[in-house]
């Protein structure tokens, strides 16, 4: 058997960490990414990364981090891996620090920590308000070093189309498309690690980057890779509304003392700074005195929706509330939050140091994702591992802020190690696989391209995508009502029918972005249905999943993981128990100390 080879798909934090782990183990890695890996969506993470190092002497511990994460996730996460992640987090911070991440420092030269949502401790290490960018760059640099030593080969500007599965359903490589030549090729490997990130594009506008379509996850789902807890979608409370994207205003703004409010009188026309304190409604602080502005995201988002849609207190009758940092000294703002304040200033032309920001919730993150086991990131298909936002293990029904970066790096490392071990134990390696297996998959994908290119119709892929986004945002985000979910599903099926009448307004063979987008769109439509059907079935409220008709968490019937399977072209929802072996479920409330 040849020396094993590993393919990593996705060059964000999880994919890069997996790559480094495999390269360190001495195996060659082929790293596939749609964009140059340094431009991956992890750059958008702002506020920080959690690790209970108790650097402020508050009595924090990894056990408390674990409990906050499980409680914040409303007890839906399987507990053993979460526990391991929280225990590993301090070591991950040390590693990033050694890699040269320019974390903010205390006067003693130690790492500084800030507060974040869903915890009462200073547990979040940060590099200004561009922590994701700094972490991604650190891993990108390490991968570049391995690349220059010949251990890693990058395929940037290539998109994942499908896994190559042999006769017995074992993954033996991938099929990808070069986004310049549009050439479809197959690549053999002994194990494949999927780290393809978020799915924001399914909701049209979100805080996610353009490449976060979930297309790879959906393609894999259609090949038999199960998908779990799809219905759990995080809507971030504070983003800047925009036409092309909803730009995130990090929770760190509140972590550093930012306050959310609206005028008590909805007809108040005064400039916000001239409204006296007594006439402002700091609704999070009033409703949740213990956690105040730092309640978890699902709670803050629902509170803002209540203010706007029920109390009718949105700013000037619009869907917006103030996020106010104007009382914080300018020097602190520039040292700790510059990156995000700059975004507000550049895109709206208003200085948030002087004028309170106007924000509204936006689709931000998927807690659900590819089903993986509880030990080593293995999916339901042998040879495929998953890590990062594209999998479902770490965040339950609601992710706590600053836990995503740590889960990416922990999961990525674990997947890398597991893939190395798996490939070493394989009876037959990739070299023993018949070339027909690869040819068949390649032909299937080339035929799909050809069918799209030659299709004559009247539908535009961007129009269908916009409509999908509107349906999902309206019915499948903050408030979910069964009859609306049924309507959403039937509308998505209509879009699927219209998709077959798609007309490519670009039939060229070079760098055809329309063709690639059309392929992604087909996959987005299927994953949209997985999310919607999961939400429809789950008749309870838990974390980010809120049904006014079923307002309570229902552990008797719904303390279980949704596991979607694709069988004969149909989405089938199955359920399995949650591993609650460490912390027994208890009611989740943030208006008092837990």
């Amino acid at each position: 058997m040849k020396q094993p080879k590993i393919i990593v798909v996705g060059g964000g934090l999880a994919g890069l960490m997996a790559t480094i782990r495999v390269a360190e183990a001495g195996l060659p890695v082929d790293l596939f990414s749609i964009v140059p890996v340094k431009r991956s969506h992890s750059v958008c993470a702002q506020g920080g990364i959690n690790a209970a190092k108790n650097q402020k002497g508050e009595g924090d511990s990894t056990a408390k981090h674990f409990d906050d994460t499980i409680y914040g996730g409303d007890f839906l996460a399987n507990q053993p891996l979460v526990k391991r992640m929280c225990e590993a987090a301090p070591g991950i911070i040390d590693l990033l620090d050694r890699m040269g991440v320019m974390f903010n420092r205390t006067p003693e030269g130690l790492l500084d920590y800030r507060r974040f949502g869903g915890t009462l401790y200073h547990r979040t290490a940060f590099a200004g308000a561009t922590t994701g960018q700094q972490l991604l760059y650190a891993l990108d640099e390490q991968v570049r070093r391995h690349e220059s030593e010949g251990k890693v080969q990058k395929f940037e500007g290539a998109t994942f189309l499908s896994a190559v599965l042999d006769e017995s359903g074992v993954c033996r490589g991938i099929c990808s498309m070069d986004l310049r030549s549009m050439e479809v090729t197959t690549h053999a490997a002994d194990a494949v690690i999927v780290a393809t990130g978020g799915i924001g594009a399914i909701f049209g506008r979100s805080t996610n980057s353009v490449v976060c379509t979930g297309s790879a996850q959906s393609a894999l789902f259609q090949q038999g890779v199960d998908y779990a807890n799809g219905e759990f979608i995080q809507v971030h409370p504070t983003a800047i509304p925009g036409e092309d994207k909803l730009r995130l205003m990090s929770e760190s703004a509140r972590g550093e003392g930012g306050r959310v409010w609206v005028p008590r009188n909805p007809n108040d026309q005064r400039a916000p700074r001239t409204i006296p304190d007594g006439e402002r409604f700091y609704f999070l602080e009033e409703w949740y005195p213990k956690y105040g502005n730092l309640v978890p995201r699902d709670i803050a988002t629902r509170a803002i929706h209540r203010i706007v849609y029920q109390e009718r207190l949105g700013l000037h009758g619009k869907a917006a509330v103030y996020l106010d940092v104007t009382h914080i000294p300018r020097e602190t703002l520039d040292r700790k939050l510059e990156g995000i304040l700059e975004i507000y200033e550049k895109f709206l032309g208003i200085d948030p140091r002087v004028e309170p920001m106007q924000v509204f919730p936006a689709m931000h993150y998927t807690m659900g994702g590819i089903w993986i086991n509880g030990q080593d990131q293995a999916t339901s298909v042998p040879g495929i591992y998953a890590a990062g936002e594209c999998e479902y293990q770490y965040h339950g029904a609601n992710r706590l802020g600053a836990n995503s970066l740590v889960s990416c790096i922990f999961g990525g490392g674990l997947a890398g190690t597991a893939a190395v071990k798996y490939s070493a134990n394989l009876q037959t390696g990739r070299d023993a696989v018949s070339s027909a297996v690869f040819e068949v998959e390649k032909k299937r994908q080339k035929d799909k391209n050809q069918a799209l290119i030659s299709n004559q119709g009247s539908e535009n892929p961007i129009t269908i995508w916009r409509e999908l986004g509107d349906i999902m945002t309206e019915h499948v985000t903050v408030t979910r009502i069964n009859k609306n979910l049924e309507l959403a599903d039937s509308k998505i099926r209509d879009l699927q029918a219209r998709y077959h009448k798609i007309d490519m307004n670009d039939r060229t063979k070079w760098s055809n972005q329309t063709l690639n987008f059309a392929r992604e769109l087909e996959n987005m439509l299927i994953l949209a249905r997985v999310i919607t059907l999961g939400a429809l079935q789950r008749n309870e409220s838990r974390g980010a999943h809120y049904k006014p008709d079923f307002p309570e968490r229902d552990d008797a019937n719904w303390l279980k993981t949704t596991r979607a399977k694709f069988s004969d072209g149909e989405i089938v929802l199955t359920y399995e128990p949650v591993d609650i072996s460490q912390i027994p479920p208890r009611p989740r409330r943030y208006d008092a100390a837990k």
């Binding site: 991956s40 070591g91 590693l95 903010n104 200004g128 640099e141 980057s209 036409e243 975004i343 535009n460």
Partner: protein, 253 residues
């Protein structure tokens, strides 16, 4: 911000080139104005309805983009002749017709999309990383004074967009000058307590063909940088350090 709410139309001219081998031509598009419209929205609207202002069907415009909040570095292009990021280029602040063209210092892939691999190769060449022993647990990193962090952090925000290369007269087809972004990264890594241990290697790589001595001090880079990185300071410092190193090498030799 100028108040141009009365505007109902946006006129956009795009320099088109269907592949690296084809010769470029311009096309004009008439779009519906919308609030908060940026250049990315213009390009998306063209994709949805790829028809020129004289009613001729055409193909959607190819362009690079990802984060749309000026942190991934993808969408650099020439907007009204200026190298900048398309996502943060707000239509209300631009003179019309808005002229969009690909950067000129990098090979065009198609339309506005360019190949900036040269920059990533340069980062390899100057060893822009901290050579850690491994990812296993080796304890905490070195302590860093807040003032050092505050100096280094702005440098670490470079998004490799290439605007500083685009505006630099020293970057051209006859000269492989690596560009300000790269030398600024050398400065960043040479500032770090561990990175410092390998400063000489990086400085050596920053000299020679395309190296720091090709900087002619035009200072366009620092103006073009969307992240406000003090690039001229970085160039001056690396120039000084490189000079010291070559002098020291000569004395020692």
């Amino acid at each position: 911000m100028p108040n141009k709410n009365d505007k109902k139309e946006v006129l956009v001219k795009v320099k088109r080139q269907s592949s690296p081998k084809e010769s470029p031509h311009w096309e004009e598009f008439r779009l519906q104005w919308r609030p908060y419209m940026n250049v990315i929205i213009c390009l998306r609207d063209i994709s949805e309805n790829a028809v020129t202002s004289d009613g001729r069907p055409t193909t959607p415009v190819s362009y690079d983009s990802n984060c749309l909040e000026e942190v991934c570095g993808s969408c650099a292009m020439l907007i009204n002749g200026k190298a900048r990021m398309a996502c943060s280029a707000l239509v209300d602040q631009l003179e019309q017709p808005i002229r969009l063209a690909p950067m000129t210092k990098f090979p065009v892939v198609r339309d506005l999309s360019v190949d900036r691999q040269f920059m990533f190769e340069s980062l390899k060449r100057v060893k822009a990383w901290i050579p850690i022993d491994g990812t296993y647990d080796l304890g905490e990193g070195p302590r860093i004074a807040p003032e050092v962090q505050e100096k280094a952090y702005p440098l670490s925000r470079c998004i490799t967009c290439g605007n500083c290369l685009e505006v630099c007269p020293q970057v051209n087809e006859h000269n492989p000058f690596m560009g300000a972004a790269i030398f600024s990264q050398v400065r960043l890594f040479n500032m770090h307590p561990t990175g410092k241990m390998h400063a000489k290697e990086r400085l050596a790589a920053a000299m020679g063909n395309g190296g720091i001595e090709d900087c002619a001090n035009a200072q366009n880079c620092v103006v073009a940088c969307p992240k406000g990185i003090p690039l001229t300071e970085s160039l001056a410092e690396i120039n000084r350090e490189a000079w010291k190193q070559s002098l020291f090498g000569w004395l020692a030799g």
